[in-house]
Every structure is written in C-alpha cells, then in structure tokens.
C-alpha cells in the first residue's frame, strides 16, 4: 500500500519557505520544509509518493541539480520548479527532464495548489505503475527460459508452426509450454499475457 502523499518544499529564503508552508497547510497537505536540497535528499525514500516544490536558484545545490539527482534515484516524487526569473532554455530543460510544472514567482496560489494536486496524482500513478510492473515482473520470472522464448514468439503474433520451425521444437511441446506459462502467470489468454509482459518490461530486464 502506498504512503500518504507528502509535499516537500525547498527554498533558501526562510520567509518564502514559511509562507509556502502556511499556504499548503491550509489545504490539509502534509508539508515538510527544507532550507537546502541536500537535506531533502537525505530524508526521502524510494517509496515516497508526493511532490517537491523547489526554488530554481539556490546556493550550493540548485533546482536543476536536485532534479538530476531525483531522476537518478528513479524517485516517484513529482517536481514543481519555482523561479524568480525563468528563461526559455532553462524552462525547456526542466520540463524535458520531467518536471510537472515550472512556476514563476510570484505565482497565483490557486494555480500552485492545483499544480500540487496534479503533481500528487502523477506521483501516485507513477508509483502504482511501478508497483504493477514489479508484480508483473515477479510473475514473469516464474517462467522457464524455454517457456519465455516460446511466449515471446507467440506475443509477436507467430503461429505455432512457425515457432516450431524457428525454435526446432515439436508442436505438442510448444502447446504444453504455452499452457504451463499461462497457468503460472495466472492469465487467461495470450492477449492478457502480452499486457503482463509489457508491464513487466517497464520494471527492468527480464
């Protein structure tokens, strides 16, 4: 089960940090504030779901560096970047790396709250997708190498005869292994297996 969403906020200006916390608390979010990005990175875990609101310009680790670090950790936390001075190249870079949004200070509080809500949803989805992929991967891993290779051929749409020809295995053996694979992964059709396989592949190499 996923944890409650948490809103992490990072700003080197303590007053801005306090004001943002005050705003988010009125919306009954769980808020944690950090005066620098390094402290935040020490606190977050891979299973966290929620959103990070960070200032772009900060001494030592800035918003861009924080984002890069999060991507590397494959964190599910969504990122909202806030800046006092945005230019096009920075905006493009930040969005390309998967930030949910980039807001220019001073921002409209209503819009920020909306973005936060959206970000939390995105984060939760990301977490759930990851969760499902991991489960699918677990199922797929129960298959033997022979079963997996036959199923891959089947998923790509080859008829049994062709598979038999390609892998030099008899039609009956193929049929038996197909049935075994469907049973092990608890799916009913080759179509459902294809979905399972694709989900599993998101979680890593099979």
């Amino acid at each position: 089960m996923t944890a409650n969403p948490v809103i992490y906020i990072v700003d080197d200006d303590p007053v801005v940090l306090a004001s943002l916390e005050a705003l988010l608390l009125t919306q009954q979010f769980e808020v944690r504030s950090f005066s620098n990005a390094q402290l935040l990175l020490e606190k977050i875990r891979p299973t966290d779901v929620g959103c990070i609101i960070t200032d772009l310009q900060m001494p030592e680790m800035d918003g861009i560096a924080l984002q890069a670090n999060l991507v590397e950790r494959a964190s599910h936390l969504s990122l909202i970047m806030v800046t006092g001075y945005a230019n096009v190249p920075v905006t493009v870079e930040v969005m390309k790396r998967g930030a949910v949004s980039l807001l220019e200070k001073p921002y409209d509080a209503i819009q920020l709250i909306a973005e936060v809500k959206r970000a939390v949803t995105v984060s939760r989805q990301s977490f759930e997708i990851a969760q499902q992929s991991r489960e699918a991967l677990e199922k797929i891993k129960q298959l033997t190498a022979e079963e997996l290779s036959i199923m891959e051929c089947a998923v790509s749409g080859l008829p049994n005869k062709a598979i038999s020809h390609n892998l030099a295995i008899s039609g009956r053996t193929i049929d038996r292994r197909r049935q075994s694979a469907l049973r092990k992964t608890n799916v009913n059709s080759i179509g459902e297996f294809a979905v399972l396989l694709a989900t599993a592949k998101k979680a890593g190499e099979i």
């Binding site: 705003l23 001075y85 001073p106």
Partner: protein, 811 residues
C-alpha cells in the same frame, strides 16, 4: 764787421750748437757709450758701462769678447770682423757672462765715424740692456704659441671670418666637422655652409649691423651632404685695422636630436590622441576607421600602407596564417609581383609565425624585385585572443623606430578595443563616448588651467597681527577686487566685506589657525564691485618671532575661478559617467534583481492566500494564524520596498554628495545589491567587519558602486573555480588615519603585467566586460582621496584593497 766775419761767426755758432746738442745726447746716454779704433782692436769706454760693469778707460776687444757668454762669442766675433771689413753699421745682440750668471742680454750698436776725406776715424758705439725687452718678447711669443695651440687644437670648431664673409682662419676641428680642407675653406664664404641664414643676412651680421646677439643656433652643411646642428658664439674684434669675427661653434646635434625626438613624440602623442578620439567617435563604422588610419599614416609621414584586418572568418587572415607568410600573402603584403622570393623568406616566415603566436611584434624586411620593403605586423589582441592584425608596409623605410612602433601598438590596442565595441551593446558604446568626453574635458580643463597659470597675476599680502591690518597688498589686488591697493584700508572688516557671506566663517577660522602658527590654504569666493563672483585660493604662512609669537602673516592670493568652473564641469561630467555606468550595472543585474524582488512578493502572495483560506473557517486558532500571516505580509512589503529604494538610489542621477558615512553600512548595502547575483552563481561571502571604525567623508552611492563593481569582478574571476570553493572574503579594519577594505577572491589571481594595466579603461580580459568597471572604481576612490590597489593573495586569488582617509567622528 766784414761779411765773411759775419758768415764765419754764424757757421761757428751753428757748429757750437751742434756740438752742444751731441754732447747733451752723449751725456744722456753717456754711461753706455763707447768709442773704438778703426781696426776695432780696442775700445774706450767713456763713462763706464753699467750693464757690463766695465770701468771707464781703454779695453781690449778680446777682453770684451771674453765677458760674453761662450755660446755667443763666435757669432759676435764674426759680426765684428764683417763690420770692420765693410764699415757697415754694426748691430748685434748677445748675452753677457756676469757673476750672477743671470744671463743679461745686451744689444751692441756701433756706427763708423768718418773724417772729411771719408776715412773711418773711429767707431762710436752704444751698449743697451735688453734683458727685460727680451723676456717680454719671449713671454709674448709663449702667449702667442699657447693661444695658437688652443685655437688650433680646440675640440670646438672655430672659424675667424672677415667682414666680407670669407675665412680668415679656422682650426682643425672646424675643418674636420665640415669635412673640407683648410685650403678649400679659404676659398669659401660663410653662406656656403650655413643652411639657416642667407648671404644677405650673414653679411649684415658680419658688418655688425644686426642686433648684438652673441649667440645663435644654426645648422651647417658638411661636404658629404650631412647636416650638423651648432651653437655659434660670435665675438667681433679688430686686427691691424681689419674687422674680424671670431666664431666659436659648439656641436648641439645631440641636444637638437633630443629636442626633435621630444617634439616628435609630442606630435605622435597628439596624433594618437587624435586617432583615438576618431576611433572612439567612429565606433564600428569601417569607413571612419580607415579614414582615421589614413590620417594617422599621413600625419606621421609613413609612406606605404597601413591596413587592419579582423579575422572574423579565417579566410580574411590569409595575410598572416598560422604557419606564417605564404607566397600569396607576401604578394598581398607588398602589393607588387614577386618573381623571386629571397632566401631570408624562411627566416621571416619563422619570425612572423613565432611573433604572431606570442602576440608580439614582428619587424620584417622583405626584398622583392630590388624594392626594399619594410613591414611590420602587429597583432590585435582582445581578451587574450588574436582577433586580427595591423600591418604596416613601407617602400622606403626598412625599419621603424621605437616611437612609430610604440604608436602603432597604441593604435593596435585602440583598434582591438574598437573591435570589441562592435560586439558590445549600445549602452556600452555610450559609456565609452562618455569616458572620451570626460577625458577630453579633463584635457580641456588642464589646458585652461595651464593658460590660467601663464596669465595669472598673483596678489601678495602681508598682515600685521598686532595692528590687525593688512600692511601691504601688491598692485594686482586691483585686478581681483576692483579696489586699488591704495584705496584698500587694510582692515580685516573691509577685507571680509569682499568675501561671499557663506565663506566668511571659514575664512575667519583659517585666520584663527594662522594665528596659532599653522599654514593654511583656503579657497573662497569674492564679489567684486561689478557683481562678478571669483574663486580665490589663499595660501597663508605665519611668521614668528624668536619667542614663537606670530607677529605677521604673509600670503598669496590667486584667482582660480576658471579652474573651479572647470572642476565643477568635470565633476558634473564624471557623475554623469558614473551614473551611466551604474545603469549598465543595473542592467546586468536585472535577473538577480527580479529574483530579489520576487522573494518577498511571493511570500506576500502566499501569506495573503493562506489568510484567505484560513478565514473561511474562522476559529480562534486560525485568527491567530492570520494575524501572524498579516504581520509577515507587512514586513515582506517593507522588505520589497527596501530593495526598491536601494535600487532606485543606486540608479539615481545624483551629484556627488559628501557626508560622514559608515563604511560598514556601505559594505552591507553593497552585499545586499550584489548578493543575489553572487548567491545564484554559488558564491559565498564571508565578512569580518571591524566595529567602531571612524566615519569616512564620502558619497554613499559612489562607494557602493565601487564595491558592487569589485564583487562583480571577484565573481567573474572565480568562474572557473569549482562549486563550493567559490568564496569572497570581505574585511574592513582601521589603520592610523585610514580605513582599509579588502576583498579577497579565490580566482586565478593576476599577473604583474595585468596589474599595471588593471585600472586603465577599456582594458578588459573578460569576454563580456566593458573594461571600465575597475577604472571607474579608481576614479571614485581617487575622488575620495583614497587608494585602490590589487595584489596576489597568499594561496591563490587576488586581494583588492581600498584605503580611504578616516574622518573625524568615531561611530
């Protein structure tokens, strides 16, 4: 009486008269008269000879001979023999051999006395002492010889001219200097070698019709065509009724050469300044740059081509490619066909290549088709990068002297900065024009000040302390005060009435200091009766008696109205310049500024919205929260306002306003202004500000500008330093009479060469720098009578140190 008797007695009388006459003659010289036999064997000394100490009486000739100096005996004997044989008048000089052996000289004269029949009866002789005469004549001969030698051997060329301009005499040095032989010179006239004065003028001078100028400078032409500068001293004199002119020459070619060099350098500086002003005005307009270069070349008399070439694309730098001169480029260089490239070509290529790489100078001589071409290639360097070349080609000059090369270097740096400006924005160009204008204004006021100094009439005054009156004011008093020295009563009260009201207290305070034995220099305004206001500088010195009592004051007044006006104008222009520069800085800081301002604004927005949301469900808790949020909103608005105030102050067009200020406050404001930009670039600022420092007299905004510029400079210096190690240390501390601020960065430091040029305008090593930041810092610090220096930090980085004089009050 018979007629014969009468005749007889007359002739007798005449005879007697003659006898009397001869007797008195003989008596007069009797001492040294002697008589000799016709055969000359013996002589009778009539009254004794004082010279030879011979007693009266007969003396044998042989004895007389023996009395002579042995060396003279033979010649004397010969002479006697000769005279006896021919009966000619005997005249001879000889030395006598006396006891003292002093070698007296005598002259012997003997005349034959003949009787009626014409036979020689006897000789009558005279001995004369000519020792003194001889000594004198030998002295004269020595003197003559000495003079002859000093004339002949003098290293200074001397010529003696006759009044018609021909040569009467000349010495060896004169011949040597002009290169003519003495004989050749004897046939020449003064105008044949004088290049400055013509025949007519020289003749007038020689005749003594011109002003009695005893010294003049001229130039002579030598036989080999060379010219020589000489100073001529002229002394006319007369010799045997002939008017002669003695001309002493002194070689002043070296001095003249030096003078010419200075003149040339001055001229050159003028040309460079002229070209600089052209380039500054012209900006990036290529036509105008070319025109300026042509002017430069023309004014300096360089025949050939002076070209510049910016290497925007590599193809334009064909002239000097990275591997030196190609044959093609040589052809371009000389603009004439090459049939054979001489051997030294390779050498030139090597040299040129090396020089271009080192950004140094490369003089090269290329011989192409018998045309000797001197060329010189100066790289245009901007920010340590080669951006083009300035080439000078000459068809007549093989080499260029250091003056020309120096000027070309200046030109090259000007060109490089022009090029840099092409890249820069218009604000920067405006800046540079302003700087040029300020420089021109400075030069202008300098010139005016010089003229003023030349035409100034100072007023001297003496003040009697006991009588409390001016004892004396010099006549020029009238010019300044429109009151003649006689009309001026001398009382301090009257003097005060001339002064501008506002300046009177300062004057009296200065007078008080003078009476306490201090020298003072005071500037004040006076109002002359025609209502005009003049600025006067009054330097006063107290005079003390032996017990240290000041009994008199003396001083000098000088009219400095124009200088003050020029200073005021300059101050206005300078504050203009500083303002523009600040606006430029503000422009650069705009990103940081908007961030700075957005911080409190977003805090306000957040708090306000939080309030609104909280009020929807008004409980006591939320009320308290809202009150807190509203307080925050208030303080954040004030914070935003403060930021705006600082920015407005910084960007304000304000004349320098000197006041007692706290340097630490200035530093804190500067950090606040520059701080966000520094933070964004990952730079930390650490400070150690000594508290309780004395106030300094200065302009808050201008000093902020200094430190903001220094911060920007330090930040730029650390661009290449790793994140986390970027640190600026800011210190302030007091020294006796001074307050020191030091700013240390962790950058790459500065080279000695750079340090010298650090504060010169347009000398930026940065790509985006205008090169005036540090020069503006220096201008401001100078105006505060302070000093700004840079030095290498102990480990790495640079320390900029600003030393300002401490004012009176303790803070």
């Amino acid at each position: 009486m018979l007629v014969e008797d009468i005749k007889l007695s007359e002739s007798l009388e005449s005879l007697q008269r003659q006898v009397r006459r001869y007797r008195s003659l003989v008596l007069a010289i009797a001492e040294n008269v002697w008589v000799a036999d016709p055969d000359g064997q013996r002589t009778e000394v009539v009254h004794g000879e004082s010279v030879t100490s011979v007693e009266p009486g007969w003396v044998a000739v042989s004895d007389r001979l023996n009395a002579m100096h042995p060396d003279d005996r033979i010649s004397l004997e010969r002479k006697i023999v000769k005279s006896l044989a021919t009966f000619e008048i005997f005249r001879h000089e000889a030395r006598i051999l006396d006891d003292s052996h002093k070698g007296k000289q005598i002259s012997l004269l003997a005349v034959p006395v003949r009787n009626e029949t014409g036979e020689v009866e006897e000789w009558i002789g005279l001995t004369e002492d000519i020792t003194l005469l001889k000594e004198q004549s030998s002295r004269i001969a020595d003197e003559l010889e000495w003079r002859r030698v000093s004339f002949e051997q003098s290293l200074d060329p001397i010529v003696v001219l006759e009044s018609d301009g021909s040569v009467f005499a000349c010495n060896a040095s004169f011949c040597r200097v002009l290169g003519y032989s003495r004989d050749e010179l004897k046939r020449m006239f003064a105008w044949d070698w004088d290049l400055v004065y013509d025949k007519e003028y020289l003749l007038e001078r020689l005749a003594g019709n011109k002003a009695p100028d005893t010294k003049f400078e001229t130039r002579h032409r030598c036989k080999n065509g060379q010219t020589i500068d000489l100073e001529v001293g002229v002394f006319p004199f007369e010799l045997q009724g002939k008017r002669l002119i003695y001309c002493l020459h002194r070689d002043i070619s070296q001095r003249k050469e030096h003078e010419r060099k200075i003149l040339r350098q001055t001229e050159l500086q003028k040309i460079v300044a002229y070209t600089a002003s052209h380039l500054v005005e012209s900006g990036p307009d290529e036509q105008l740059i070319i025109k300026a270069l042509n002017d430069f070349r023309g004014k300096f008399g360089i025949d050939g081509h002076l070209n510049y070439d910016f290497n925007e694309s590599t193809s334009t730098l064909d002239l000097v490619s990275s591997d030196g001169f190609s044959e093609e480029s040589l052809r371009n260089l000389a603009k004439c066909p090459i049939t054979k490239v001489p051997e030294q070509h390779d050498l030139i290529r090597e040299k040129m290549c090396y020089s271009v790489q080192e950004f140094g100078l490369c003089p090269a001589e290329v011989a192409i088709q018998q045309h000797v071409v001197g060329s010189c290639c100066i790289p245009l360097v901007d920010g340590g990068k080669l951006i083009g070349v300035l080439t000078l080609i000459s068809f007549t000059q093989r080499q260029f002297d250091s003056d020309v090369l120096g000027a070309l270097f200046t030109l090259a740096s000007l060109l490089a900065s022009t090029k840099q400006r092409i890249r820069s924005d218009t604000a920067l160009r405006e800046n540079q024009t302003k700087v040029a204008a300020a420089v021109a204004a400075l030069r202008d006021s300098d010139e005016r000040f010089r003229q003023l100094a030349e035409h100034i009439v100072d007023v001297f005054w003496i003040y009697d302390v006991v009588a409390q009156k001016y004892l004396y004011v010099s006549p020029a008093f009238n010019l300044l005060f429109s009151v003649s020295a006689e009309e001026f009563s001398g009382t301090t009260a009257e003097y005060l009435s001339f002064l501008h009201e506002d300046d009177r207290p300062a004057f009296l305070a200065a007078r008080h200091r003078q009476l306490n034995g201090h020298e003072t220099v005071e500037e004040y305004r006076i109002l002359s009766s025609d209502g005009k206001q003049r600025w006067i500088i009054d330097r006063a010195t107290p005079i003390m008696n032996s017990v240290g009592f000041v009994y008199r004051l003396v001083g000098v007044l000088r009219d400095v109205t124009e200088r003050v006006a020029a200073q005021d104008k300059l101050a206005v222009q300078q504050s203009e310049l500083l303002h523009v520069s600040r606006l430029n800085t503000l422009g650069l800081m705009s990103a940081a500024i908007s961030h700075e301002l957005n911080q409190p604004l977003s805090a306000i927005a957040n708090f306000a919205k939080a309030c609104e949301f909280s009020l929807d469900e008004a409980t006591n808790d939320t009320r308290a929260l809202c009150a807190e949020y509203l307080r925050q909103i208030n303080s954040q608005s004030l914070r935003a306002g403060e930021i705006l105030r600082r920015l407005l102050d910084f960007g304000k067009r304000s004349p320098a306003r000197m006041a007692a200020i706290d340097i630490n406050q200035v530093l804190q404001d500067s950090v606040a202004l520059a701080g966000v930009d520094l933070r964004n670039r990952g730079i930390r600022v650490e400070w150690q500000l000594q508290s309780g420092l004395r106030a300094i007299e200065g302009d808050r905004i201008q000093l902020q500008q200094v430190f903001v510029n220094l911060f920007a400079n330090a930040a730029d210096a650390m661009d290449d330093v790793a994140q986390g190690r970027k640190l600026i240390l800011l210190r302030s501390f007091g020294q006796p009479g001074k307050i020191v601020v030091e700013m240390e960065d962790q950058g790459c430091g500065i080279t000695n060469e750079l340090r010298e040029k650090l504060f010169i305008p347009f000398n930026s090593t940065k790509q985006r720098g205008s090169g005036i930041g540090l020069s503006i810092c220096k201008t401001i610090v100078d105006a505060h009578r302070g000093e700004i220096t840079a030095r290498e930090a102990q480990e790495h980085g640079t320390i900029f140190s600003v030393v300002l004089p401490a004012g009176g009050t303790q803070l």
